[in-house]
Symmetry: C2
Amino acid sequence: MELWYTEKHTPDAGITIKCRKTLFSRHSDIQRIDVLETKEFGRMLLLDGLVMTTERDEFFYHEMLVHPAVNLSLRPPGEVLVIGGGDGGAVRELMKYPSIRRIVLCEIDPMVVEVSREFLPGISCALSENDRLEMVFMDGEEYVGENEGRFDLIIVDSSDPIGAAEILFTEGFYKKCLEGLSLEGIMVVQSESPIYHLQVMKQVKYSLISAGFSHVRFYTAPVPTYPGGFWSWAAAFKNDFKNSGNRFFLPHEEVERLKFFTPDMLRSCFVLPAFLKRELG
Amino acid sequence: MELWYTEKHTPDAGITIKCRKTLFSRHSDIQRIDVLETKEFGRMLLLDGLVMTTERDEFFYHEMLVHPAVNLSLRPPGEVLVIGGGDGGAVRELMKYPSIRRIVLCEIDPMVVEVSREFLPGISCALSENDRLEMVFMDGEEYVGENEGRFDLIIVDSSDPIGAAEILFTEGFYKKCLEGLSLEGIMVVQSESPIYHLQVMKQVKYSLISAGFSHVRFYTAPVPTYPGGFWSWAAAFKNDFKNSGNRFFLPHEEVERLKFFTPDMLRSCFVLPAFLKRELG
């Protein structure tokens, strides 16, 4: 028997991946959670039937979610909030920065953390070992509203803007994040696929600006198992963006160990394809 | 009835695209040629069952195949050879350069040109209208061997290194290309997916160097319908590579009309992911 997982990225196109077996499949209070074992991409975590991360290409996404934003900061960030990100990949990357003394992971669904700890040790490895980490299981919007001016960096590592994560793409949520940021704080938001979700990207941009962010810059990278194989993030600045020059806050030995991000990408990832530049004005 | 085209990029993973109908399906002397009509990607050209180009994302590939190499040249190129490229996309992009007085399209299979003219007018539009174009239907290796020192730029727009195109990835072929180039000539080669074909990329690199090219630089871009959604090209320099600075040979009004490439990419597309940089030494 051959078992193939097919994810339709639109009603008319998608990816298909051969599965060895289902390692986990349950409904939490929030969503359906599956872990599939595949030959091509290793273990895959799915939420509500959509690929969230795979062992093989998670580093494309997690390194690009974390390292550009941290290194665009004017000063090395001290306190960081991750909203979503229950698989632990963003926390793992953040732990590499000595300056970061506190990471709050605010994940709405504790079962995502449990499942990642059990089945995705390479991704979740930083979720249990460090006194710099605080885990909070609640709604991200609510949490950030209670922490005014606290965070130097807020990372929104959400699923798609349907269901539980829908609120994480709204102006109201972004306003609370703006208040949760310190004076020179930065927020980074995963902003979907430039191939299939251009409207989401536009909505993210206008909502961030309406919420009061002074400056929004999109960047992109390939992520093979995500829709279109091509993904985007928005970096939003509370105050004026000043290029920090060539400083790089990650210790040299950690830079050497990265699998996707390189210091040169701090510039290059912001160079957008012409169609995207035009669409995003 | 729903008809889905599925291309396996490996035995265990692939893409799947819903088809409206088959517009063309025949065996030429060289290969099987199909044109499918799809909702998501428009018309798709397939050779031996693999997607070569689609109306929706062809510009990702063709603009990145042509514009980096032309603009890395020390002087605006005058004579250009395209090997493969029977769909006409590369020729269309080259025609935008006033300096180019002659383009030779050397395609082994005349049926690819016929089919592209009939079914893909947006891609093949430059294949019939211009006295700067010369079309030759023969083996690329043979042709280039007869044209010593002639071309300022050689573009290898081939299919995968199996079947007819296999020879286009060998040291012997690259040696003939080196001889076909003028003194400061450049060659650009599509070099497959960094996700699935790392061994091909390495082979391309070592074969180009062994053939006598002085310098090889890889660059990448997303191409949604290609394996992994992420593609690579190798630019190879006959003599020492000197950065031409900020000159850009494409007229401003043509730059404004590009859909993927922007002048900033002349630097950014060469910034490789860490794993790729390491693998390619």
